[in-house]
């Protein structure tokens, strides 16, 4: 049953820092000042507009069904690992074609290219670079082939990066990621730990690869050092088991630190939970939104523990919350429409709290640019300029956007949101943080 969802990221497995899920205070999607404001949500936000009206306003489209010659959009994903990304995208495509009159009245056709091995990145890049009918390429989530994909498409076709998980995703000049991605989430973890939790000692468990090490060395440690917080980082393999994580926790002295920050895969989240349990310790945990996915929920049910998610853990995401959906950010629209149009794999539940959301949002934002530029006037160059100049607001992403900030020049989102789950009280929105702000 829950199998499809298990795929959610786990192998983001391979690479490490991870595009987190979503969370945070949706009442201030833009204009955050860097300080964290703490608000506790008591009930689900009530929609004041219909989902369709929000989408029509966001994209600038007219209501109705699309007809005529299809507009072709390229799409690259590692389907064997991240089918959820495709579910989100295809739900958005079907919704746009049926209710938002496609792109300028014309239906959208997705040209898919699947990546399984390194060579496939170049294959997909070559395919779309050579295809004059494709003006823009979307990616889902890739752990291999990213670099060669970007090399093949650089300056030929603009790329909208879905869920960046490898270093190449964050430093490429070939495309942009409108979501804050793991970069913002991880910096947000450090700021929240220092400011709101007033920690003096922290242990970081990160994936033992280039991206995971960068998460600790470049994003976390400098902030902790500046705040005079003692930090210890320990790497674990991408496929780390509970036993491996237990070793890492012991080595990091997780039983003594104020806060534990795991930056691990979905599989690592369940392993972390088991390892903490095996050691019999009760650290304060601040982690990414990957740990509030269905795999963790399933795992807790499997081992007979109380609650849907680990009690008291803090989760950081892109800004808007799947669990406390709001209208302004488009989260309510997303949830309504993905449930209407999303097609889960046979025998699996619809998974929409992971990588599906950003792909849905990216597609609707692409639709917005097609409306603005004019469907027949869209060229790779024109789209490239528009997508880089986009300052928001971005669907289900909090805060304004700004692309090209070194060293992660492709990452445009900079605001992250924090939620906490408690067995007694359920979900509470805690804060949102602009990671560009000092302090």
């Amino acid at each position: 049953m829950k199998i499809r969802f298990i795929r959610i990221a786990a192998i983001a497995i391979s690479m490490g820092i991870i595009a987190a899920g979503c969370s945070s205070d949706s009442s201030s999607p833009s204009g955050t000042d860097g300080s964290s404001d703490t608000t506790v949500a008591t009930d689900t936000t009530v929609a004041t507009e219909t989902s369709n009206e929000w989408a029509l306003a966001y994209t600038g489209a007219t209501e109705g069904e699309a007809a005529g010659e299809p507009v072709r959009v390229g799409y690259v994903n590692q389907e064997s690992l991240f089918p959820e990304a495709t579910i989100g995208l295809m739900a958005a495509v079907d919704y746009t074609n049926k209710e938002l009159s496609g792109f300028g009245g014309r239906p959208v056709e997705i040209v898919k290219c699947d990546v399984a091995v390194e060579e496939d990145g170049q294959k997909c890049g070559t395919q779309f670079a050579n295809d004059p009918t494709v003006s823009v390429v979307l990616t889902g989530t890739l752990t291999v082939g990213n670099a060669s994909l970007y090399a093949a498409l650089d300056q030929k076709k603009p790329i909208v990066i879905g869920n960046g998980v490898t270093v190449a995703d964050f430093v490429t000049k070939a495309g942009v990621a409108w979501t804050t991605g793991s970069i913002g989430v991880i910096q947000g973890m450090a700021k929240f730990t220092i400011k709101d939790l007033a920690a003096k000692t922290v242990a970081v468990i990160h994936s033992n690869n280039a991206a995971g090490k960068a998460a600790f060395d470049i994003l976390l440690k400098p902030l902790f050092d500046a705040a005079k917080v003692t930090s210890v980082g320990v790497g674990v393999e991408d496929t780390a088991t509970a036993t491996d994580v237990q070793s890492a926790l012991q080595a990091a002295g997780a039983d003594k630190v104020d806060v534990l920050l795991p930056v691990v895969t979905v599989q690592g989240c369940s392993a972390l939970y088991d390892a903490i349990k095996a050691l019999g310790i009760t650290p304060k945990v601040v982690t990414t939104g990957l740990c509030f996915g269905t795999p963790v929920k399933t795992h807790l049910a499997d081992i007979g523990d109380k609650g849907d998610f680990p009690d008291g853990w803090y989760f950081l995401g892109y800004g808007a919350s799947y669990f406390n959906p709001d209208v302004e950010s488009g989260m309510q629209t997303y949830i309504d429409k993905v449930q209407q149009y999303g097609k889960p794999a046979e025998g699996s539940p619809l998974e929409y709290t992971g990588f599906a959301g950003p792909l849905f949002a990216n597609f609707l934002t692409v639709a917005k640019f097609y409306q603005q530029i004019g469907v027949d006037a869209v060229t790779p160059e024109g789209f490239n300029t528009a997508m880089r100049a986009f300052t928001g607001p971005m669907m289900i992403q909090a805060g304004d956007l700004g692309c090209g900030v070194a060293p992660f020049i492709s990452v445009c989102g900079h605001v992250t949101g924090i939620q906490q789950y408690t067995t007694a009280g359920g979900w509470a929105t805690i804060a949102s943080i602009d990671v560009r702000a000092a302090g």
């Binding site: 829950k2 298990i6 090490k213 088991t241 349990k277 095996a278 050691l279 499997d302």
Partner: protein, 730 residues
């Protein structure tokens, strides 16, 4: 005389190693922090997981003489069967070719009416919604019995007199096939496994923390080890198995059937491995296609320490290997003397330890595995002597045809396939030199390719070394590393060497390629190709007034570069086979003592083969990095080495033609471009076909596709000559 000189040296080294080991152990035990981490529950549990795979390997070897590289994959497969039965109540079946599709396709092609839809082969046997623990366990163990019987009767019984190379190839094929089936059925992401035991913490004396499930599984592993020891020590079955292992002919005379014993041991091994695989997955609460199979390297190390015969020593070594990995993590975090890279602890040091243990054990023992007293032994694949026509006619024709196809006729997707194939040919060529000509099994060719690729990045990007000096330097350093790896190869051969090279590949991947000082970290290991060869460059080229290319990616000049380098390497290897060096290599492959008796310098020959093989692999790594524009750790993994080895064997491990066939078949190569673009076979079938092809080739056609093609051609030629002779006589 020579032996008597060597014996004290070896004894001295043995004692030094033992003294160092004892000293380190004492040091660890007296220091409270070191002891707490070394004797931690997680370390012991990690060891138990290694022992779980290792004792299965020993069991298989004692029973059938096969060093089973796929034992970890079997454990993983059983865990998947169990997990799916528990969660869905389904017994999943491997994807099987449907013969009805041969009927369906032509009928639908000619029919204009409603398409013919014949039944598909079922993909699962359903037992209901979910299954309880005991029914799922029972069905999984029954499945393991069938798997053991299938492995014995379909694969290893036909190979019982085959040389070790063939058995290694078959077990690597099983490894790849089982992994590919699981990826095809369930994707590569982890699948949750309902834990069998609870995870509550248990505090033991000396500050050891266990969780309940870790303690139970560790104790169970120890019990199984004792049980196996007792089985082989005290029962008639165990004595008969040992007798058959030492002297097969003698066992037959005594009325035992070695084949029957082998079959029983295979079943016992798969059941035990399957059961322990389920327990391992239960501790991990998840199973994925990579984690348990990756235990094969420490498990082989433990089995080697136990000399593939002692269950007790194997278990002890397995536990120690698990415990050292926990200690390494602790040392890396806390000790300033621990090797560092970019401020962080040097990665993968726990993976280097098994390699060091293997090298030490093999050096000290020297005499490798206990030799099985087989009745007969099979021959290695035939290495044909290249004809003059092949060198002077077919070779240049093939190059010209490839160039014309690649530069003028091929569509972009086939051009890309051709590029992948040409790189693949080079990797396969490196295996031909080492395995095909000298009989040395290397499972680390991608490590040499990676060394060259990453070095190229440093040389070209950071130091501005131009093309072609930079790739040549990269390949030369790979060659140097190859020579270093050859040093243990002077003392070991066959399966042991396969184990050494596999451990080398894993260690290099973990400690070197994943090191941010090597892979460039955030900046990545960029490799900027010369503009003319840049794969993403789109421009037309004029040559003698003719336009080359269609102005689309990939750049035809990239193919030309690959073609030139591959052709040069092919000619090098063809001429090597024709030369005296080639003959000395083949003499070494057939019988090292006999070769030495006719004045062949066996050591020099082996070192030369290793060096040349690593040079070719290094060149392939460099050219490949130019093609991608960067060197990435994901391309140079140990599993990639296994995959390329599989395709090299499938194509024909002992000839250049075989390497060309292998290159055509590699992932993303011409063969699969054809399958994908023309026949619309999804690319994920690559590994399934590769694994299946490898097993089939090992059993039915050890010469590979090239050998089969060549022998058929020879038969036709012979028949033609025979008819001509008859004409003349009449």
């Amino acid at each position: 005389m020579k032996n008597s000189d060597q014996l004290p040296t070896r004894l001295i080294i043995q004692r030094v190693v033992l003294a160092v080991f004892t000293f380190l152990l004492l040091l660890i035990l007296v220091n409270q922090n070191l002891r707490a981490n070394f004797l931690s529950g997680s370390g012991i549990a990690s060891g138990a997981l290694i022992v779980a795979v290792a004792i299965g390997i020993v069991l298989t070897y004692r029973g059938s003489g096969v060093v089973n590289f796929s034992n970890g994959a079997i454990a993983m497969y059983a865990a998947y069967v169990f997990a799916v039965l528990r969660s869905q109540g389904d017994l999943f079946l491997p994807p099987l070719p449907n013969p009805l599709s041969l009927l369906e396709a032509p009928v639908n092609f000619f029919s204009s009416g409603s398409p013919l839809d014949l039944p598909d082969i079922p993909t699962k046997i359903s037992f209901g919604d979910t299954l309880g623990l005991f029914p799922a366990l029972t069905i999984t163990l029954l499945f393991c019995i069938l798997l053991g019987l299938a492995l014995h009767f379909l694969i290893f019984k036909p190979l019982r007199h085959a040389p070790p190379l063939t058995k290694v190839v078959a077990s690597v094929g099983i490894f790849l096939l089982l992994q590919a089936i699981v990826v095809r059925r369930f994707a590569a992401t982890p699948r949750p496994v309902k834990p069998i035991f609870r995870k509550s913490p248990i505090d033991l004396p000396f500050g050891i923390n266990f969780s309940k499930d870790q303690l139970i599984v560790s104790v169970l592993v120890v019990i199984f080890t004792f049980a196996l020891w007792a089985l082989f020590r005290f029962t008639r079955f165990g004595l008969a198995t040992r007798a058959a292992a030492e002297n097969e002919k003698g066992a037959i005379i005594l009325g035992f059937s070695p084949e029957f014993l082998s079959g029983i041991n295979w079943v016992l091994s798969t059941v035990l491995t399957g059961l322990l695989g389920i327990l391992v997955a239960s501790i991990n609460t998840a199973v994925d296609p990579a984690t348990i199979p990756a235990l094969i390297v420490p498990a082989l190390t433990a089995a080697l320490v136990g000399n593939f015969s002692s269950f007790g020593l194997t278990a002890l070594a397995g536990f120690l290997l698990g415990m050292q990995s926990q200690l390494m993590v602790y040392l890396g975090v806390t000790q300033s003397w621990f090797p560092r890279s970019g401020g962080s602890a040097f990665p993968g040091m726990d993976k280097v330890v098994p390699l060091l243990v293997i090298v030490l054990v093999l050096y000290i023992r020297g005499d490798s595995l206990p030799i099985r007293g087989g009745v007969t032994s099979g021959r290695l694949p035939f290495s044909p002597y290249p004809s003059k026509a092949a060198v002077r006619l077919w070779g240049p024709s093939l190059i010209v045809a490839t160039a014309v196809f690649g530069l003028f006729l091929a569509t972009p997707s086939f051009r890309l396939g051709l590029t992948n194939s040409l790189i693949g040919v080079m990797i396969c060529l490196s295996a031909v030199v080492l395995t095909g000509f000298v009989g040395q099994i290397s499972l680390s060719q991608m490590a040499f390719a990676g060394i060259s690729g990453f070095l190229l990045s440093k040389l070209a990007t950071e130091h501005g070394v131009p093309f072609p000096i930079a790739p040549l330097l990269g390949a030369l350093v790979a060659m140097f590393m190859g020579v270093l790896v050859a040093l243990p190869a002077l003392r070991v051969r066959g399966v042991n060497l396969a184990i050494v090279t596999l451990a080398f590949g894993v260690a290099v991947e973990a400690a070197v390629f994943k090191n941010s000082s090597v892979n460039g970290g955030l900046a990545r290991a960029i490799v900027v190709p010369p503009k003319v060869f840049d794969s993403s460059r789109v421009t037309d080229y004029k040559f003698l007034g003719i336009t080359i290319g269609d102005g689309l990616q990939p750049n035809p000049m990239t193919i030309l570069l690959c073609l030139i380098v591959t052709s040069l390497m092919c000619y090098l290897v063809v001429n090597l086979r024709r030369s005296g060096s080639g003959r000395r290599m083949l003499a070494t492959r057939n019988n090292e003592r006999a070769a030495a008796a006719v004045a062949v310098n066996v050591a020099y020959t082996k070192i030369m083969a290793f060096g040349l093989s690593a040079f070719i692999a290094g060149l392939a790594g460099a050219i490949s990095s130019y093609r991608f524009g960067s060197a990435t750790p994901e391309y140079f993994t140990y599993t990639q080495s296994l995959v390329f080895f599989a395709f090299a064997y499938l194509g024909g491990i002992s000839s250049v033609t075989g390497a060309i066939f292998g290159g055509v078949l590699v992932s993303g190569g011409l063969g699969f471009t054809f399958l994908e673009n023309i026949l619309h076979v999804p690319s994920e079938f690559t590994l399934i076909l590769g694994g299946l092809g490898l097993i089939t080739t090992a059993i039915l056609n050890p010469e590979g596709l090239a050998g089969g093609w060549s022998s058929r051609l020879n038969k036709v030629t012979a028949r033609f000559s025979h008819d001509k002779e008859k004409e003349i006589v009449s």
